[in-house]
Symmetry: C2
Subunit: 326 residues, 2 copies
């Protein structure tokens, strides 16, 4: 027989979506404002109704369309969180919410007709340390690393679940002391800052460190665990771009190679080498020339390209394998 431990226990299912677009060269995220006094930024979220919608993805699409009018292109489930950033307690009056985080991509990055106070905002407002396009952000060396070093020194050898100490995690995630900064680890970086008590959400959950005052605000906070979901979305998108042509879900139908490079840089968070990027695009055969030129770029006219859908049939994992600093 099926092993089954506990009796049925009803819980509410929240669908929370990180809806990503690009506005010019800035990656943006659809955010609303919390209804409470904090007015914190919040990702759009709604409840899942299994009677109305057969699958979670169908439920999410219907819900976003209805509320914002936005047609979602690519949708991917990210992670299901059992806690919303605080401990559940016996006697809680609020219903328990399990939140299912999703990543969605859409082309409408301008703030056109959007519902009820929601707006697209640059994702780097929430994660300033993730933007290395103009070199390493000064706040890492000036504010984050000093605070993390003090935090690590308080218990330098305590291992986490993977056997890594605080010092080692600081080194590997933020690139201190010869470590590398890998964009795909956006979630781990945020979780490290949360654990160290350096982000506003930690203070709200009663886990603030005295260091938070010295480090100052590290990005704008969000409601509940929404910044954690956004960090998951950023990391996943950065990884996915390398083996799926998801980037074209954000591009217009036709585009120049420089525009494509700017988009890859916006997502990956670092600057890319022009020639190598072009060779990569060429060799991966994900685009084809339309034959037209654009002279709207302000220099020599640029050839226009479009996504070559046939790659989906030709190659098992088509994507732009942008390197750390190609």
């Amino acid at each position: 027989m099926t092993i089954s431990a506990h009796p049925a226990l009803p819980v509410e299912i929240g669908l929370t979506a990180a809806i990503i677009a690009v506005n010019g060269d800035e990656p943006v995220i659809l955010a609303a404002r919390a209804g409470d006094a904090s007015h914190e930024a919040a990702l759009p979220s709604g409840a899942f109704d299994p009677l109305a919608h057969r699958t979670l993805e169908i439920g999410l699409r219907a819900w976003v369309k209805e509320q914002t009018g936005l047609p979602l292109g690519y949708v991917e489930q990210l992670y299901t969180f059992g806690d919303r950033g605080r401990h559940a307690q016996a006697g809680d009056r609020e219903p328990h919410v399990v939140s299912i985080g999703s990543l969605a991509l859409t082309r409408g990055g301008g703030n056109g007709a959007l519902a009820s106070g929601a707006a697209f905002r640059p994702w780097h407002a929430f994660f300033p340390w993730e933007d290395w396009r103009a070199g390493k952000p000064a706040m890492i060396d000036e504010r984050i690393l000093p605070a993390l070093r003090v935090w690590a020194a308080r218990d330098p050898h305590r291992p986490n679940a993977y056997g890594l100490s605080r010092t080692e995690r600081t080194r590997m995630l933020f690139g201190a002391d010869g470590g590398k900064f890998d964009g795909e680890n956006a979630l781990d970086r945020y979780q490290l800052l949360y654990e160290a008590g350096l982000v506003e959400e930690a203070r709200r959950d009663g886990r603030a460190s005295p260091l938070i005052a010295q480090a100052g605000p590290l990005g704008e906070p969000m409601l509940n665990d929404h910044r954690r979901i956004l960090a998951t979305a950023i990391g996943r998108l950065r990884a996915k771009m390398k083996y799926r042509p998801v980037i074209f879900e954000l591009m217009p139908e036709v585009f120049t190679l420089t525009a494509l490079q700017r988009m890859a840089e916006a997502i990956s968070g670092h600057h890319l080498h022009k020639q190598n990027f072009r060779r990569l695009v060429e060799s991966s055969a994900v685009t084809e020339p339309t034959g037209d030129m654009s002279r709207a770029t302000g220099g020599r006219p640029a050839a226009l390209f479009r996504f070559r859908r046939e790659v989906l049939r030709e190659r098992p994992a088509p994507g732009l394998r942008v390197g750390a600093r190609s």
Copy 2:
């Protein structure tokens, strides 16, 4: 304010675990028997209680430990399914269940003291077409591809969500007509067979094809959507092995390189080239010699190795990047 579409709607949260181990050279999965008349194989599953456990992972670990006595090592959340393989309908008497699938690894692959009828069973009993260690399984050419071709021919150009036709999906997933068979796509293969109505679960859900009679049984079915969860686990483990040292969660403390290769073959599902595998292990520095030799292997004694934990600090993505046929 936060966009919020529907009123609270309580749903039951089911945690379903694909608990993987290895018995000799066989990858195995912990399976129980369904309590109903079908006696289908079932993955262990239980309900999540947010009052007792702060996170989903903590809940899962506690629950498995309590029921089976198994200590779980590596645990990873896979996917949350809103449907259990059938449509929810207004008036259903059963509570709606959202099932959260997880992958767990443990070393106890023998059938020691296990609870209530649960047993470790070879995963290839459920996915015989995934085992290419001795070459392409005959059933692919003899039974699967003929049936899929008939199914594809009935509507050869209908695109799925990614714009791929039935013919193209058959080619890309099962390696027909010059396509490649990529082990990581285990879930897509199962879903294709389900969609084509060729697996027992499709019949049960009222989606059987007449072709199911000719193709014959394609692997043993499981309760609800459990085979889908297992397929997800297999694909994820195969992918993860390449950039995380998860394989050592299944190995004993010390092992020979041949034993490690057998394990990599068991997971990836195909045969590996001996010299290249050894060079890969050497260059990735994930192991270190213990200095001892084993003469239990029945030929020349083999050097013994252990996992080198330090790689976790040294390299951002340590794993065994086994190729398609290295």
